[in-house]
């Protein structure tokens, strides 16, 4: 069920694009010092495109329910350097037995890098370093997949990214230790904007697991606008986990763009519970036969948080499988938006695509807009989509209470139960524990939930 909201006057964010063009000018020296002539030209084209586009408005279909005016209104300054954070600051985001790399406000914090037993040929480095050490690889892939023509935030990132992470896995290599990327937002006195750029390239028959955590050290408003491009080579297995756990004062507009070659298996788990206005664009193109894309998500928001998951799965070749399950728990006056398009090209016969979005509203003032969409040009496919918005089952609450569980704990148990099928899909114990801990802390009487699951 999609909830329609009454049409209201579109909010046009103040033309606050100047801050970014000024930032572009200020960073010109640094941005010109790395990269390639192609990237320089792209940066220029992107900042010009952003100036034309401006911030999206709710008049645009893709942004109908997500008003980014508060970001446009905030007097943001493009970050030109990064403060340092201590090991203690980020200790709770550290995962044992993982390679680790930390970005602070979009720039590498090299003192926190730990490379653990990376096989021969695997590269985990900052993007700036990768331009030095592997210029051809970076040139071949960076900014090739995430398009900025009609996307202001991808345009901003393309123009303004100062640094980021580059991961490369050569043919046949299995990276057994997961890679934990901690992207720290460190708020300063003046609100900052930063644009981390991530690129993961995997060659044929390789395998890797990557965590991407977005966290905050300190308190205050900032705007992070990350873009991640992933190239899944033929017959690869890539598991990507994104934990968006920033301060409630953060703005987060992210894009994940995946290109899948034949026989590749890509899974993404997108867990969002931080930030004030959060948008996750998750796009994958299945460009070879027999690809699998598993896209799961869980969002839990409260207060005045808004989280928007915007998915596009393009089935361009036959015999591919995609499965999306996004679940949302909305409290307070929060808002959840889900838009999911499954596009099946004419030749993509035998496509098997499933998409579901389920929402649990815990308050009368929370709101959800869910729009699953199918666009199918092939004639021999199996595609299903569904969307639900509901509340806790009163009978189930009564059942639990009739066994001696208090009402609050019963509600929390059922809320946990709603989230459980995403929790159990998180195969990696580190991430799963973090997710569970978050739920136990967040839910009233969470200690009883902890005991009962």
């Amino acid at each position: 069920m999609a909830l329609a909201t009454p049409k209201k006057a579109a909010t046009t964010p103040a033309a606050n694009t100047d801050a970014y063009t000024r930032g572009f000018a200020r960073l010109a020296g640094e941005l010109a010092s790395g990269g390639s002539p192609r990237l320089q030209a792209l940066r220029q084209a992107a900042i010009e495109r952003f100036a034309e586009l401006g911030f999206p408005t709710t008049r645009q279909e893709a942004w109908r329910f997500t008003n980014v005016a508060p970001i446009a209104r905030t007097p943001l300054t493009v970050a030109t350097d990064a403060p340092s954070v201590t090991a203690a600051d980020i200790e709770r985001y550290h995962y044992a037995d993982c390679t680790q790399m930390v970005l602070v406000n979009g720039r590498l914090a090299p003192e926190h890098t730990r490379l653990l037993g990376l096989p021969e040929g695997v590269v985990v480095s900052s993007l700036a370093e990768a331009w030095q050490s592997h210029p051809q690889l970076v040139e071949e892939h960076l900014c090739r997949y995430a398009k900025f023509d009609d996307h202001a935030f991808v345009a901003l990132n393309t123009a303004l990214h100062a640094d980021g992470v580059f991961i490369y896995v050569p043919k046949g290599v299995v990276v057994e230790t997961p890679i934990n990327l901690i992207l720290v937002g460190a708020p300063q006195d003046e609100p900052l904007a930063f644009f981390p750029r991530l690129l993961f390239v995997t060659e044929e028959s390789s395998q890797v697991t990557i965590f991407e955590q977005h966290v905050t050290v300190g308190e205050g408003t900032y705007f992070t606008c990350p873009v991640l491009e992933i190239v899944a080579g033929a017959n690869t297995t890539i598991d990507h986990y994104k934990l968006q756990r920033e301060t409630l004062a953060a703005f987060h507009m992210s894009t994940l763009q995946v290109k899948q070659h034949r026989d590749s298996n890509f899974s993404s788990h997108c867990l969002s519970w931080g930030g004030l206005i959060v948008r996750n664009d998750v796009n994958t193109t299945l460009d070879g036969e027999n690809c699998t894309a598993i896209l799961n998500g869980l969002y839990m928001v409260e207060g005045k948080q808004l989280v928007d998951n915007h998915m596009r799965v393009e089935h361009n070749m036959p015999n591919c499988y995609s499965h999306e399950l996004y679940k949302g728990i909305l409290e307070g006056k929060s808002r959840g938006v889900f838009t999911g398009l499954i596009y099946v090209k004419k030749d993509a016969q035998k496509t098997d695509a499933v998409q579901a979005n389920r929402n649990l509203l815990l308050s009368n003032e929370a709101l959800c807009n869910s729009q699953p969409q199918l666009e199918i040009l092939a004639d021999d496919v199996r595609c299903t989509h569904g969307s639900t918005v509901g509340q806790l089952d009163k009978l189930a609450i009564f059942y639990l209470r009739s066994r001696g569980i208090g009402e609050e704990a019963a509600r929390s148990l059922l809320t946990y139960a709603f989230a459980a099928d995403i929790v159990t899909r998180v195969k990696l114990p580190q991430v799963r524990r973090d997710l569970e801990e978050f739920l136990f802390r967040r839910l009233p009487k969470g200690e009883i939930v902890r005991q009962a699951v």
Binding site: K394, S402, D421
Partner: protein, 262 residues
Amino acid sequence: MCLLKIENLHAGVEGTEILTGLDLTVKVGEVHAIMGPNGSGKSTLAQVLAGRADYEVTAGSITYRGEDLLELAPEIRAREGIFLAFQYPVEIPGVSNVYFLKAALNAIRKHRGQEEIDAMDFLAYVKSKMEIVKMEEELLHRPVNEGFSGGEKKRNEIFHMEVLDPTLAVLDETDSGLDIDALKIVAEGVNSMRSPERGFIIITHYQRLLNFIVPDVVHVMVGGRIVETGGKELALELEAKGYGGHTRAAEAAAEAAMPASG
């Protein structure tokens, strides 16, 4: 000692009266069977006893161990020793059957001023109860009722009852739809718990269960009240003759009562 005393209970849902002046007294140590045709209000009685808010009590009283039961929230009733085996047990995905029971048992123990049971003791305790209801270990670790067959769900209710060790257990058609093996397990569960300190109200549609659980008292419920009470032989009589006579009598009584109640 009187465990439960229901007097002139009137209750309904959304303005429709279902219980129309029900009286019932259960003493400790007794097993009462309540039989009656569909729609006679048996399940409503069970739900009202457990405290479901959808049913409104408009008149009458329920006294449980000397306390006004209607004043208590469902979880307090449970902690005070009332257990309802649901006719349709609810599936709770993601919540493990055994850990859920541990949380429930600890909530009950805390209410009674007892210490929380530790994990090892709990496991040993649960294992002993599992044997009684021939519960497979696997069902212990599955989410509560999720993907359980009908019979497994009913057995799980009896298992919950065994673990939570209530003072008054109400079984709402726990026997319905069970094959003979499952029925025997349910009956053994109840029989193993019969004691001078405990009472049972067994609501059933079928006499067959009472071949395995021999009740002390049998009631016939029609039109929202108890219309006849007798010994275990009453169940056999009903089996032979059906509820026809009772239904007609109840209708006549309702008609007679109508002018008086306005």
